[in-house]
Assembly symmetry: D2
């Protein structure tokens, strides 16, 4: 990105910042405030935190005589950067009514103006570093665009009146899925991770060698119809399919189906960002935990792929699919791409759980300073997911992207693609 | 109330309903939504629940062909009436963003219009019952006016920027308190409870006999200055002053001072509805639990009064003082009444904890039907408080009024008046 | 007691101390150790704590040059006397395997020898005080005899093999109960509490006046058969019978019957100290909480008596019945006393919940010093029970005795006697 | 093992079973019963569960007309085998006093006799399978020998009188450690896992290829003295060294030093199976969590090795060291082996945390049937440890052995060996 022009940089900055604001247009003021559980945040917080990110890592360091917008915001809107200072407890974000939404938009405007001014006025020495930090900030903003949507869905789901974020007739997009097939991949000593071309997070680097035995990958993710067979076969009642921690989760949380599913008169429905809708049996199953993905795979006599098998297997698949840009905000069964590709629905629709725990690549070096906390300190107890979802901005995703969540988490648009050994 | 005219009834209805709406005028939309703990409710919920009360107990029963405003509201805004139907979990009230605040006001308007119409059109047969239910509904509304204020204060207190509800210069009202003295009361076989004149809740009835040994009651509540002596004497560190459950609470919640108190540079401040203010050492101490009131009394070599001692002792004291109507929303030290009265600050400023657990009066009969749940089912584990506070509407309080809270609760404007035996 | 001879005192001391040891004779070493929940204690702890009581309040204060048996025991076996020093957390008593049971018996022997020696050698000045403290210590020992039995039962109940403490054929004692009837009592200005004759705890004093309206008391406690009707009528499923806190307890703990009850093939059984036995429908129901007692009474159209109604009503009833001395350790239906008495089963079998919260009598003064912690600091959130149970030593109980437990507690032999107003 | 003779098999069976019984010889009956937390078990339970294992997987399947010792034991002593049937909750193992210890020894004797009889009488067809199952059972028994010791230590640690299991003068074994150095290892495409020679668990198989970049491994684990430097440098106070989940653990559990450490008069002591002893600064640090191991490594500018780096690096190191057989039951600084080896203390003393999460090897197949639950279902959220400890039986450990625990666990003898990249 250091080679792009200042004008392009400014355009890109404004484009992505406006994307965030466009996402909250359908909301009422009240919707911006609530936080239904620790792992989700209010929409207002996302608006403010992404702004704090630019203020903290750019304006405070590079803008001469910068005056912060409000001295209380560093405490309120720092998410988890211990080296930046103390921060407001994550679980209490839903208790903060001031600043108001309107004041939060003023905060965004103030920081945007200063960022644009900074980019124009900065000297050549700092420019490369500033460009790099803005690029990180914009990728960070895009991550929060996705979280804003998934958190909003989670928060709305606690309202028994089923609020509608955006009325999409998703059923229009239903079409019978391609038959499930498995594509064989040779493996061997392959290379994994970012080669440094284009933007990548520090956790995708360095590109490194990995031995892979031959394996097969499913041509598409598991569908709702297939997953219903698992449910109807007593999948949630039989310990034999589950990891020990997964079985404990089934019993603790009383899981009987994916998150947001409800059964009415013998028929499955799901709460979506377009309200309560009938399940489309041809669309990829979503809102399942790693444990459910893993149990489904065992039930199906298969296994989850490793993150390297996924990345190597889909290396030639175009990064196309149902992303946030399409505006469905839900996985759909209709396929809008070249069906001669072996992998259908390789990207978009649902994040795909892998069997790989999130850990550092060999010789990985986190960013220096506070931004080293961005990714590296979460490398325990979480699992890698690949491919992006219907809530991911299309320009944000790439083959080497490593998303990561705790194995019991279900509020993301997470699904599953099967794999198997070649014996 | 059954003797008042329909016009007076309508005026009183509108006056009290408007009071509620006036209380929320200073709020931003965002402020209406949050709930910082299970025992407090969002302002919006109070607006809606009080309206649901009229809809449920009046319109549904007496208004011919009444159409409910929204069929989801009976679930959302029923507080705890099991016999009315299932209700939304109390702890999740802060997750509900729809209906919006604006829709909630429409709900109020819709119900108000129907109530006024009902009163006008009703036949003579139902009129007495309707008047009685409206009276209960208005007293209920006033209780929620007080809760709206105390809950708002609690919710605001979690915001590190100390939001201001209404900027009062409370320090203007500081004046040295009258010396503490104890007034001797003879006791004997006295009568306690409502004699049926004027409105009373079912828990204040029937008037009944009670034997009281001679005792003394303090002329005024304990002040902040006196309470600070208790703190400075290590009151919160010495088990000997505390009930066992109280000592457990001290350690569990790490209490070191009343709720909302903060020490800065060796000086005590408290968060108030007017923001963070220095402690007025002459004003009554407030936001203390029953356990703290009791521990203070032991430390002072005194005890708490029983509810009957309080009621009998103050039977001739006028119901005057610092109520919500004054608009301070905080206890003040200045006294605005006839100081020739033996009891100063008998009513208003702070609810006064008694040593009496909340239990039924002899031969007490709760109201029939769902309204029997209003008071009776809470007669376990709670303590009686007397006298009203700076957040109580003046027309709501009376000598026989029995308020009740769990002994660990501190978010009400609760304080303490000392008593002692005559030996 | 200060008038009894030294010989009698020594005999009484040895008799009661030996009672405790006799109670544990049927136990295996392993049984002495466990603690299934915070509110119960291991048998070994009871053996040691009662001994610590004599060591602390007598030997350390009066025995010249007394050497403690083990310097770690003051920490380990102090129960809750804050003014005596820090103590081992109550919830961790079941983790202590050393001292062994054998060493604990040595501790008892050591202290017993020193107490006997103290009584003999003491000068006249201290003798009255020593006699009084020994009397308190022996009453304390008897309380722990009852707790030892109820705690053992609770601990055993977690073993799916249903261990037997003592094989009694309790069914031999089944006989049809007298018909339920209600005895009218006039009330008026009565006197309640201990008049100072004989031993009493500080919480039973002073004798004081109390006004009672006329009332009726049931001639006997509620039976299992009657309680089963409540269960079968959906008593545990209908909120209308329950206090709010009680209904929460029903749902939190999933109560469906008294503690220890199990249904097999449509028939009720209960775990007893004699193993799993069929319910005797004629015996008093036991192991119910205050909430269940109260809900049963509402279902039956009656109410619980106040503690004063109970005490006044049974003032002429002989203190006879099924106590620990009989060795059943379970309520029985057969009645062994003069059936011309109006109240059958007035004492023994089951502690009877009253509607009175445990609070100080007017002008009550707790004992001075650490022994003031014995009773007074528990005067919050607990309810008074009267009459003694099948696990109470007969010489320990009396008319004015006030037992107290939290309203959700069920591990004591607690039952219910109905009352009603005379209208 | 299928090639060994029946006599050798019987000898080995008796030898290992007797080892377990020898370990509990120093215990009092009381010590066998308690369970201080869910993750530890009473000694008695270990004695019974290992016996249940032989009864369940051998006698019930192969011994004609076998009668179980007690029909309640399948429920009580099944640990977690869902496919075998329902089992007693893990957290409640410390509440079971019956069977007594003596009865548990009878159970062992009964099963031992039947196993020996089974081995003698079995036909040739079943013999290989029986030999294999006995081998698994004996390895299982050895795992529980280690757990018995670590659980006992944990349970004892809650007794403020510091019970002594076996009085060793561990300080005799103190000697200055070899200087810390790093041994460079070339890596490349190496092979990892068991080749099928000798016994291995299913989780060690199959042997498979793994690419390793060149790296360096420390010649010995980190010592107490080195770890104290980390503590004194504020290691437990600085978020920057910690994984996010680790930092949460530090704050939640208030960690300030390894488990069992206490500071008295400025000097560190640790509770050991020989009582409270001064820290030997030259011995390997132990009882640290994965998070502490990882934080120490970051503080030291190094990292943890992967499990494959550990296994490949130590492939030529003899399996010698301080194991349970030595009887110290604590890491010691004295080295008893050939010091010309590059790796000192490669095995024994402490389990060494790796940065590898416990997951299946490529193409791994768990055992069929219930024994497939032995290892495979735990492959989530746990980390791999290598090398065995001072509580591991020497004949139980090997290069390819994969131990696994949750990253917050500290009750095992767990330590840390540093690694670093070759750049």
């Amino acid at each position: 990105m250091t080679t792009i022009s200042i004008e392009t940089l400014k355009d890109e900055y404004l484009r992505i910042r406006k994307c965030t604001e466009k996402l909250v247009e359908p909301l009422e003021i009240e919707d911006f405030i609530v936080q239904a559980d620790t792992h989700v945040s209010p929409s207002k917080w996302h608006l403010a935190h992404t702004t704090w990110f630019f203020e903290t890592f750019l304006l405070k360091n590079f803008f001469t005589n910068y005056h912060v917008f409000h001295k209380g915001f560093n405490y309120l809107f720092n998410s988890y950067y211990e080296t930046v200072g103390k921060f407001h407890p994550q679980k209490a974000r839903g208790l903060i009514t001031r600043p108001t939404v309107s004041e939060t938009f003023s905060y965004r405007k103030y920081v945007d103006e200063h960022i644009l001014s900074l980019v124009e006025k900065t000297n050549q020495t700092d420019l490369d570093q500033i460009k790099e930090l803005i690029e990180i900030g914009l990728n960070h903003e895009q991550q929060h665009q996705e979280l804003l949507l998934t958190d909003l869905k989670y928060n709305f789901s606690f309202n028994p009146t089923h609020p509608v974020y955006m009325a999409n007739d998703i059923s229009d997009n239903s079409s019978s899925p391609q038959d499930l097939s498995f594509i064989e991949i040779e493996g061997g000593l392959v290379e994994i991770g970012s080669d440094g071309e284009g933007f990548s997070f520090d956790n995708e680097r360095p590109r490194h060698k990995k031995w892979l035995d031959p394996y097969r990958l499913a041509n598409r993710p598991v569908t709702n119809g297939e997953y219903i067979q698992f449910i109807e076969d007593g999948g949630y009642l039989k310990a034999e399919f589950w990891l020990s921690d997964g079985w404990n989760a089934v019993n603790k949380y009383k899981w009987q189906a994916p998150q947001y599913w409800e059964k009415h008169d013998g028929k499955w429905y799901a709460f979506t960002l377009s309200g309560l809708l009938p399940i489309d049996e041809y669309a990829p199953v979503t809102h399942i935990s790693f444990y459910e993905a893993d149990a489904y795979a065992r039930w199906a006599g298969r296994r989850l792929p490793t993150e390297e098998e996924w990345e190597h297997g889909l290396q030639h698949t175009p990064v196309e699919g149902n992303f946030a840009d399409q505006g469905y905000f839900h996985p759909i069964s209709k396929i809008k791409r070249d069906t001669t590709q072996p992998f259908l629905k390789g990207f978009g629709d649902v994040w795909e759980w892998t069997q790989s725990s999130y850990s550092p690549y060999p010789r990985n070096k986190p960013l220096k300073g506070a931004l080293g906390e961005y990714n590296a300190k979460f490398m325990a107890n979480q699992m890698v997911l690949k491919g992006g979802s219907c809530a991911t901005p299309e320009s944000h995703i790439r083959l080497t992207y490593r998303n990561f969540f705790y194995p019991q988490m279900r509020w993301q648009f997470s699904g599953v693609r099967l794999a198997e050994d070649v014996l």
